[in-house]
């Protein structure tokens, strides 16, 4: 079968993606690294073609921006998987592929006659990754789930939200439960590709989306596992067993700053004092002499001695350091604070909205925003780029997301279907070609 000229470290790998909504991100990650990813869609199109937002807010299955993002650099084959000819086409595709990634509910592939046991008969090297909400078997395998219920039931939401516990726990936005499952699908698929050379065959991979979020909660899990203690959510910072001080401060222009790790060592206090001086803020800050005293201290303040009351002067210095940061943030526009603070060695971050990130000079300098030409629309659109620079095998993405069934005919020709056979399948409705 011919593959398009491609680049990236996974160039040459053939992937069949038969996903609904949990794992298209896995296919996208493989595609952007150079794998040839063919997405199998139903005749009416994958349901995410109908997900908002749409170009111009007009619902159109070829203009879902949601679909675009998840399908960049993939090809589309539209098949009626219930039909016998459709199943045969699917099997032929899988027979010559390295990888099948799918997210059908448990039992669905077997019901279609497309379980790993039968697919691997035709292709011993096949790596079949099945992503489901709760794994292939187990007591909750059949529970319905969405990104929200996965993140709520599997740990993340417990740790996210506000100091005010009258407000609900928060699900982080953007479909991150599905993303985490997809990240694990890719890790395990690539592991199996390497293992294949060693064991001489492919294998079946059971990817459990709920488990993926469960092991991606940082302290919430291990604090319980190790010490049987429970973290509590706090506004914009780590959930903790004990409360910590706020880290988000509103800057002069109304945007917010994550103030990061506070000043703790002599040079930090000296540095803070000088910054206040440079901004002409010393007069507004009566605690400034404490920063000068702190500037003479060597090494790090002992936070333990501060909280136990043994180092009262240290406590006053530490508090002055925090107060000075808050004053500086409130006095400067957010971007100015962010860059000045980082240039002075203070770790901190501006809280950007997604469209602000893609316009930021650093990311533009690195070539992160990706302009993809959509010739049929006569314009290009800005996508987020690839987060890793493979300096020896760069990922080059020029292909816009596919129209429904755009590649059906070519893919069938590559599989040695005759034009008569292809036309017959189009006429019977078992495939769609556009």
């Amino acid at each position: 079968m011919t593959t398009q000229i491609s680049s990236g470290p996974l160039s040459g790998l053939k992937v069949i993606e038969f996903t609904d909504e949990i794992a298209p991100w896995a296919g996208k990650l493989l595609a952007e690294m150079g794998a040839d990813v063919i997405r199998i869609e139903p005749i009416e199109g994958n349901k995410t073609r109908w997900y908002e937002p749409f170009l111009g807010d007009t619902p159109n299955p070829e203009q879902s921006l949601f679909f675009w993002h998840y399908n960049l650099r993939k090809r589309s084959v539209a098949v009626d998987i219930q039909s016998e000819e459709g199943k045969r086409l699917f099997k032929k595709l899988v027979a010559q592929a390295d990888i099948l990634v799918e997210d059908q509910l448990p039992g669905k592939m077997a019901a279609l006659g497309l379980a790993y046991a039968s697919l691997s008969e035709e292709n011993k090297s096949l790596i079949h990754a099945a992503v489901t909400p709760f794994g292939q078997s187990g007591p909750r395998a059949d529970e319905p789930a969405t990104d929200l219920t996965l993140l709520a039931g599997s740990g993340p939401a417990w740790s996210c939200g506000y100091d005010d516990h009258e407000l609900p726990p928060i699900r982080g936005g953007g479909g991150q439960g599905y993303h985490t499952a997809s990240h694990w699908a890719v890790i395990s698929i690539l592991t199996a590709v390497i293992a294949r050379d060693q064991i001489g065959q492919g294998q079946f991979i059971d990817v459990n989306a709920s488990a993926a979020s469960n092991v991606s909660t940082e302290g919430a899990s291990y604090t319980w596992l190790v010490a049987q203690e429970t973290v509590q959510r706090q506004t914009g910072r780590h959930a903790g067993v004990r409360p910590s001080s706020p880290t988000q401060v509103q800057a002069a222009d109304g945007r917010w700053i994550n103030s990061g790790v506070p000043a703790r060592q002599g040079k930090d206090f000296k540095n803070t004092y000088e910054w206040l001086e440079d901004e002409g803020l010393l007069e507004q800050f009566p605690e400034a002499p404490l920063l000068q005293i702190g500037g003479q201290r060597e090494g790090f303040l002992n936070l333990g001695a501060i909280s136990s009351g043994e180092d009262e002067e240290g406590a006053a210095i530490f508090a002055a350091g925090r107060a000075a940061m808050v004053l500086l943030i409130k006095s400067l526009p957010a971007y100015e604070y962010f860059t000045k603070a980082q240039e002075r060695g203070f770790q901190c971050g501006i809280i950007y909205s997604p469209e602000e990130v893609i316009q930021d000079p650093h990311f533009i300098d690195r070539g992160f925003p990706l302009e993809i030409e959509h010739p049929e629309l006569g314009r290009s659109f800005t996508y987020p780029g690839v987060p890793y620079k493979f300096l020896g095998s760069p990922c080059e993405i020029k292909m816009r997301p596919p129209f429904l069934g755009e590649h059906t005919r070519q893919v069938m020709i590559d599989l040695q279907y005759s034009s008569t056979e292809i036309q017959a399948m189009i006429d019977s409705g078992s495939v769609l070609s556009t």
Binding site: W158, W184, V357
Partner: protein, 411 residues
Amino acid sequence: MTKALSNLRICDFTGQLAGAGATRHLAAFGAEVIRIEDPVNEGRWDILRGNAPFVDERRGIDLGGAFNNHNVEKKAITLNLRTEKGKQILTELIGKSDVVSENFSAGVMDRLGFGYEGLTQIKEDIIYVSNSGFGASGPYKPFKTWGPIVQAVSGLTFSSGLPDQQSAGWGYSFMDHTGGYYMCIAILAALIHRRQTGSGQWVDLACTEAAASLTGPAILDWSANGRPLRRDGQPNSNHSDWPRMAPHGIYATNMPDTWIALACRDDEDWTKLRALINEPALYDQHFDDLSGRMKKQTELDSHVSQWIRHYDQQDLYQLMLDHGIPCAPVRTPQQRVDQDANTENWGLWPTVKHTQMGNVRVDGLPVHLSETDWYLENGAGCLGEHNEEIYGEILGYSSRQIKSFKNEGVI
């Protein structure tokens, strides 16, 4: 069972979660991950080493619970790179490794004399993967980050919260986990490429870019429609605008700070829920279809909240399951670790044996491979625990030589 990656050796400088979390998974699949630590400061560059949580009242550099979690199945050696002998030994080790991995601030490896160019002179096909906040180029290259800063600058923090409130963000370093996943993917992809071509390479991973790629539809909505996410009424990340679903949220149950998440995917879910709530106001025709429910979501949420407020969390969960409506308690760590048959059935919290801490439970892996599954049996190495093994068996030094390295402060 065969170990998938048993032919691989990783010369590992990673730490914290964003780096150590990456090589952890390679170790779980059988790669020999050799973690190199500085003997002078006892490996404290990784702030988790020796830090809470602890299994008992003991404290010490080898007793940190988070460090153990992120470094299971790795070998721990010490090496002082300020000494010439230390640099020579590292050179020998790199010569026998497939991958060098690190998550220092950009430029640190260059200053140590082991930047990519230097590494290729030691081993031509070496794979070098660096993971830093802003990457190895660009104006913010020297800027420092940790998880919450990455999340702030990438748009993830902003995307998590309620309208009319400041951002809620993520209550943990989501991007340390996820940055680790990307780093792991980068290492594996570069290994596959090396098998195909015989060439190694440098992979420059920027954690902020990994994070920003997770907000794609919002970026496209701005690019295509000129609509920013920073606008009135946005975001409400417990709602679902892409795709549209309503009701969709996290609601309080009858006990303090006890919550349940509920999502009506379509009219069918809604019809079932409406019948259960049985509130006449909800039979107003505005609530019949999705567009109407999206428009009147505040009113809709208030009815759903009032109904759920009287329910016990587990009773409501069961009721929703009986009717096939997606629903989940906002589970506490205890509920999902110790009281969830699904995670137990999966073997999600394996017990590893740590030389000093004893038996400790850790995060497992959320995948099972039919032929080369993961295994986690050994805890993180204590400081220098594997010096004898690595310097002796791999580099061929005698016990006497290793002893003198120690006396000279090399290891």
